[in-house]
């Protein structure tokens, strides 16, 4: 029964629904509709920012599945995205259709992720973080030096995505493609989280010994988390390759891994909404900085040359400030804001 001042469930099925309330369904539908109407109103530049956010959302939600939900810290996510990008680029250069190339990219990244996830059976916490850091640096080296596949420092050129002969060759067209795939990935992760496997992930994060005693196979579950997370990362990589139409080694450096970790921490560990917010925040931050610095360049000449250093500094500062003052992330803040307005004049 749905009361007037809260949600009440009469069955587990109702409680575990993806969108438990009608208000949620309606507001999400309106949000999606508004997004879908965006290309009619926005310029190419604004659309490119939106597209980058959509790709980042997939990467962030996949890392959140591994790190936020399953508790396995990964500093190698950028490299797994890179594996997906290279695999998808090679597949589509060899004539595979776009969707198949995307799938192949995902599978290749899943394989790489599972190989480097094997040590997670023995390693925990910071040891695992250092092992995945090693994975990141080793894969970076491979990207740069396996020239017959990756093109070395010259990189690879990729064609724009094409499905059944229809080419997505402008920002506006690509937006619909990316929107569809991102929504699919978000739905997929949300559904995994409320399944038996999702609960197994959470139990490992909370306390691995209790999880094992409760009958969760630690190794298989951790490996599944690595595999699924890397698969989605690979899909993000494939999309990225086809979106920018260029793949090169320096795109997938340790900085990318760190910025994805920053996204999920700023957004909120273990939350799908948080991943979306974090990805949007971290993608918009440099754009705002660019805008701000060009506005300031009249007042402070020479700031344009410092923009790279400034961007990194602001990134670090935002990360540190979030960890100190808002460790639960944007998702939690959003929840608090909603709770405040729910009973607005009569808050108690």
């Amino acid at each position: 029964m749905r009361g007037h001042c809260g949600l009440f469930f009469e069955s587990y099925r109702a409680e575990a629904a993806v969108f438990p309330s009608r208000f949620q369904r309606v507001s999400l539908g309106l949000f999606a509709a508004a997004l879908l109407l965006c290309p009619l109103a926005l310029s190419g530049y604004a659309m490119s920012v939106l597209n980058l956010i959509l790709i980042a959302v997939i990467g962030a939600v996949s890392l959140n599945l591994l790190t936020g939900v399953c508790g396995q810290i990964s500093l190698g996510h950028g490299a797994f995205i890179g594996v997906g990008a290279y695999a998808a680029a090679q597949a589509s250069l060899h004539g595979a259709p776009f969707l198949a190339a995307l799938l192949l990219g995902g599978l290749a990244a899943a394989l790489a992720g599972m190989v480097f996830g094997v040590p997670s059976l023995r390693l925990k916490g910071i040891y695992l973080a250092i092992a995945t850091l090693a994975a990141q640096l080793i894969l970076e080296y491979v990207f740069l030096h396996w020239e017959s596949v990756t093109g070395g420092s010259r990189g690879l050129l990729v064609n724009a995505p094409r499905i059944f002969g229809y080419a997505f060759d402008s920002e506006h067209k690509q937006f619909y493609l990316l929107f569809a795939i991102t929504s699919l990935c978000l739905l997929c992760v949300t559904n995994v989280l409320r399944s038996r496997h999702g609960r197994a992930f959470v139990s490992i994060r909370d306390f691995y010994l209790s999880a094992e005693i409760a009958g969760v196979n630690l190794f298989a579950t951790k490996l599944a988390a690595f595999g699924l997370s890397s698969f989605l990362a690979g899909v993000a990589g494939g999309l990225w390759a086809h979106y920018t139409m260029f793949v090169s080694a320096e795109q997938f450096n340790i900085g990318l891994s760190v910025s994805y970790l920053a996204m999920i921490i700023i957004g909120g560990l273990g939350s799908v909404t948080g991943s979306v917010m974090g990805a949007a925040f971290m993608t918009l931050l440099p754009e705002f900085l660019n805008a701000g610095s060009s506005a300031l360049s009249g007042v402070l000449p020479g700031i344009g040359g410092q923009i790279v250093a400034l961007r990194e500094g602001v990134f670090g500062l935002v990360l540190v400030l979030f960890l100190i003052f808002e460790p639960e992330g944007l998702a939690n803040r959003w929840r608090l804001i909603k709770a405040y307005w729910k009973l607005y004049p009569f808050a108690h």
Partner: protein, 295 residues
């Protein structure tokens, strides 16, 4: 063969610097259980401050060096107080990320002040090479090695005999027990960050004297991980040996990869391949304490 001997000696010198940075890392980890990803950036800041004092303000090197040490004490204190203390007791990932954020901030500050160009230190030691084992070696290398050795001796004695050092070891062993014996934990945490900062600064100044400095010096901080994992995360001796071994190993592997497979730049990853192997076989390293879990 002579080529490899040269590589070996180069490896020892680079390894000496890795050891210094690793020492700082281990001191922090031992006392506070924080994994510091900003260690390399602390090296870089120290090197740049010393550069600024000697070259830009033309203060004599010895005074500049002492002032840099003073600065690094303040830096260590500030970092511990402002960034790390609010996070005591938080999850691993939060602490790791705060040090990563810190490394970005430090790096960008250096770039904003000094730019990204390579900077060359003034010559402090004579440049005529000294012959060691039939090979010419620059005096600065020998000085670097000797200084690293000296610092290690000092810190080993400090931890073994001084009151403060014993308090730090007690804190590392069991925080609650140490606290109940009247040891001020906060002071210990602050002190360990100071020591780490000072030691990294020394490493940075030595490095600046050898190669000059640029804003990518911070990458050095990543090289410390293989060294400390090899030696054991909480062992000073392990950090010393691990640093030397990793330095030698990556130089020799680089030479071998170039000779046998024609692969360039293998130096960058050799240490990490070793790292993965160690983690698989012996995650607590050569001298680290093995964590035993019983249910």
């Amino acid at each position: 063969m002579e080529y490899y001997l040269q590589l070996f000696i180069n490896g020892l010198v680079v390894g000496g610097i890795y050891s210094l940075v690793a020492l700082g890392f281990v001191v922090i980890y031992k006392a506070t259980k924080v994994v510091n990803f900003a260690q390399g950036e602390m090296v870089m800041v120290g090197a740049y401050v010393c550069f600024g004092l000697t070259v830009q303000l033309s203060i004599p090197f010895v005074w500049a060096f002492l002032m840099t040490l003073g600065f690094s004490v303040l830096l260590g204190l500030a970092v511990e107080r402002m960034a790390l203390r609010p996070l005591i007791g938080e999850a691993h990932i939060c602490v790791i990320m705060v040090t990563i954020g810190l490394s970005s901030v430090l790096k960008s500050l250096v770039q904003l002040v000094w730019g990204t160009q390579i900077k060359v230190y003034p010559e402090v030691l004579p440049s005529t090479p000294v012959v060691v084992a039939g090979l010419p070696v620059a005096p600065v290398y020998i000085a670097a090695f000797a200084l690293s050795g000296l610092l290690f001796a000092v810190f080993t004695l400090f931890f073994k005999y001084s009151r403060m050092g014993i308090a730090m070891r007690a804190t590392a062993h069991d925080q609650q027990a140490a606290q109940s014996m009247g040891i001020g934990i906060r002071g210990i945490f602050a002190l360990s960050w100071c020591i780490a900062s000072v030691v990294s600064t020394v490493g940075g100044v030595i490095l600046g004297n050898i190669n000059g400095i640029n804003s990518h010096l911070g990458v050095l901080g990543l090289k410390v991980f293989p060294a400390v994992i090899l030696g054991g995360l909480d062992s000073l001796l392990g950090a010393a040996l691990g640093g030397l071994i990793i330095g030698v190993l990556e130089n020799i592997c680089d030479g071998l990869a170039k000779d046998l497979f024609g692969l360039g730049g293998f130096r960058e990853v050799a240490a990490f391949v070793v790292l993965v192997a160690i983690l698989m076989v012996r995650p607590y390293g050569l001298f680290g304490t093995e964590e035993i879990e019983r249910v």
